[in-house]
């Protein structure tokens, strides 16, 4: 099992799949440079650079998928999907139903998300809640290299639209591009196990919608995604020192949610804390609360998310995004219930 960075793992999985399946094509802005290794390996027909026309080229992905290709369409940052939202909301996710189940759209939207590097509120959003509120789309949010590789394969095998979200803080080239790498004067709070790790080769898919218990515990369960998982693990360590055993669940998919894992873990620990880098309201924490409640579970419940616009100032940003200290605090409050 070779060691790879998070970004290498994704492109490795993509390369593996492209070598096997000639229907896979990749397009988006700047992909010749961003995916230069795939470009050199697979050529200009399969890795193609677009104009800054997200609305047109995301819908082009929908059409191409209907026509039999397996497009991987890159939206550089998930924030920008707003200009192309129609392709997801009214086309990609509707066509299986509209055609009476006769036509499907195997489209992978690859995008980056998340903050922690000081870009401010228009470039650091997560939006997995917003996207998951549409029926008909799956949303994968890997938190480490192995998951990133395997979830990419899962996405490429999906017969329906999926959004694959790469967390910028875990991806070396994004950290580098977005104001990091060329200077030694900034340091980001990058979770080591998210940044780099062993990846099994050949990469195998993980089942869609399945999360994973990444830390066992009896006193409360933390549910999270992406970088949040690492923040939870950090908090769990601290809580352990205080005699609290926190379970940490990496949901891996914002949609479909792993209802079984959510209910079974919550039932066991009796306390639930949702840690969500995305906006709190109308999001992951709400959906988890509803899943618990409609299954008749009544754990103590708390949630930590991003409230409102993410500030530019890195000091305030660090306080606004869920961090280990805030998680610890929230968990202590919950544990005392």
């Amino acid at each position: 099992m070779p060691e790879m960075t998070y970004a290498q793992a994704i492109d490795h999985a993509l390369g593996q799949a492209m070598a096997e399946d000639p229907r896979i094509v990749v397009f988006g802005e700047d992909v010749v440079m961003l995916r230069r290794e795939l470009y050199v390996r697979f050529g200009p027909r399969r890795v193609r650079q677009t104009p800054i026309s997200e609305a047109a080229f995301l819908a082009m992905g929908v059409g191409a998928a209907m026509a039999g290709l397996r497009p991987v369409v890159e939206i550089m940052m998930v924030d920008f999907i707003a200009v192309a939202f129609d392709a997801l909301l009214n086309q990609a996710t509707k066509i299986r139903a509209f055609s009476g189940g006769k036509w499907n759209v195997p489209l992978v939207v690859r995008t980056s998300c998340g903050g922690g590097y000081g870009d401010g509120g228009q470039h650091e959003q997560c939006l997995w809640g917003l996207i998951s509120s549409m029926p008909g789309v799956s949303v994968a949010v890997p938190s480490n290299p192995q998951d990133a590789a395997s979830l990419m394969i899962s996405c490429l095998q999906s017969e329906d639209p999926v959004v694959f979200m790469e967390h910028k803080l875990l991806s070396d080239y994004w950290r580098d591009y977005l104001g990091g790498g060329s200077r030694k004067t900034v340091a980001f709070d990058v979770p080591e196990n998210g940044r780099i790790g062993k990846v099994e080769i050949p990469v195998k898919p993980f089942p869609p919608g399945k999360g994973k218990v990444v830390r066992k515990g009896e006193d409360l369960t933390m549910f999270s995604l992406g970088v949040g998982v690492h923040r939870c693990l950090e908090a769990a360590e601290r809580l352990e020192e205080k005699g609290i055993q926190a379970e940490v669940v990496d949901l891996r998919w914002a949609s479909p949610l792993d209802r079984e894992l959510i209910t079974s873990s919550a039932e066991r620990t009796g306390r639930v804390l949702v840690v969500d880098e995305d906006y709190s309201a109308y999001g992951l924490s709400g959906e988890i609360a509803a899943v618990l409640a409609e299954n008749g579970l009544r754990p103590a419940f708390g949630r930590l998310g991003t409230e409102g616009v993410i500030p530019y100032d890195v000091r305030r940003e660090a306080k606004v995004l869920p961090n280990a200290a805030r998680i610890e605090q929230a968990a202590l409050t919950l544990a005392s219930v």
Binding site: A59, M60, M66, I95, F98, G100
Partner: protein, 345 residues
């Protein structure tokens, strides 16, 4: 590029036009009876454009349609019974009753549609890309109205099709109206030039003359098939049944008294709303509304019916035969669909 008239398959084209017309008139009757739900946009007036373009397509070619999708689907050979049943919301319909008239899909014909104005063009890019990539020699055709030419994703698509040299034919059905808006009042410049400036060669054509549409479309489709990239057809055609069935603006003509009694009193109240300032301006606005209605009425009176104009290309007896055949075919299919529906209800 000009070819002699003989090569135009006028009979076949006219047959497709008649089939589309008969079919949509049947739909209108079903709609009036309350058997079809929702907004029903007919393509009556667009038959020559549909027939003239679709005639050039072969297996593996794709069509991406807007909210007036019936005529191209009929011309493309989609099963009429399945279409009727779909309109009725029947599980045996083309889309099992899930899509309805704004969302008709036939995978077998690579035909899709969408009620979001402008979205047919970028969806068409996708089919064109697949043809280019798989080297099938296939082309994609996107149909849309002149109102859609102000929708960003459509403008983006023109550029992208040109930049990537995609085999896409963009067909703009210019009926001058977008619902109640006269498109020229909100559209700057001219649409053929607009397409050209985005890198797509364009031709204008009289969309009521199927022979002309056919010739222009041949140019466009052949270009695409030979890998020479996208093209744009601007086809003028009338909007004979208003924006949708039951169009309130059309009702003003068809039921003037009823409508005026309904529309006028609140307008009068507005005219006289206190404070009674700016009366002159108010009168002008009322006049503007009248002028818009007037323009619509005038067009209804003056604009040619494509069936009239294109029918003249055939000699009368043949024309009558083609019309009769189309009428019978459609009648039969609709009847059979209704029977299937009833027997299962």
């Amino acid at each position: 590029m000009r070819m002699s008239a003989e090569t135009v398959p006028v009979e076949e084209l006219y047959r497709q036009m008649c089939r589309a017309r008969e079919f949509e008139m049947a739909l209108a009757r079903l709609w009036e009876k309350g058997l079809i739900s929702g907004e029903m946009h007919l393509g009556i007036g667009e038959e020559a454009v549909a027939a003239g373009v679709v005639a050039h397509l072969r297996e593996g070619d794709a069509i991406c349609l807007d909210h007036r999708s019936t005529p191209p689907l009929v011309a493309r050979g989609v099963d009429l019974e399945a279409l009727v049943l779909e309109m009725l919301g029947d599980p045996e319909g083309l889309c099992c009753g899930w899509g309805g008239h704004m969302h008709l899909f036939s995978r077998e014909h690579l035909a899709c549609s969408s009620g979001i104005v402008g979205s047919s063009a970028p969806l068409g890019l996708g089919f064109a890309l697949a043809s280019q990539y798989l080297e099938t020699g296939g082309v994609a055709v996107a149909f849309f109205g002149e109102g859609a030419m102000n929708q960003g994703m459509l403008l983006e698509s023109l550029n992208l099709a040109a930049a990537w040299r995609l085999p896409l034919v963009l067909v703009c059905k210019d009926n001058r109206w977008a619902i109640t808006t006269r498109s020229r009042t909100v559209t700057a410049g001219n649409l053929a030039r607009r397409a050209r400036s985005l890198g797509v060669p364009a031709r204008r054509v009289d969309g009521t003359r199927v022979d002309r549409v056919w010739r222009a479309a041949r140019w466009a489709v052949e270009r695409a098939r030979r890998g020479r990239g996208p093209s744009f057809l601007l086809a003028h055609c009338p909007r004979r049944e208003g924006h949708f069935l039951g169009d309130p603006m059309l009702r003003v003509y068809r039921d003037p008294l009823g409508q005026v009694l309904e529309i006028a009193p609140p307008l009068l109240r507005s005219l006289l709303a206190r404070p009674l300032s700016r009366l002159a301006s108010r009168v002008r606005c009322l006049g503007q509304i009248g002028a818009t209605l007037g323009a619509l009425g005038l067009e209804l009176l003056l604009e040619a019916d494509p069936l009239e104009r294109s029918g003249r290309l055939l000699e009368p007896s043949m024309r009558a035969r083609v019309e009769e055949e189309a009428r019978r075919e459609v009648e039969e299919k609709v009847m059979r669909a209704m029977e299937r529906r009833v027997s299962r209800a």
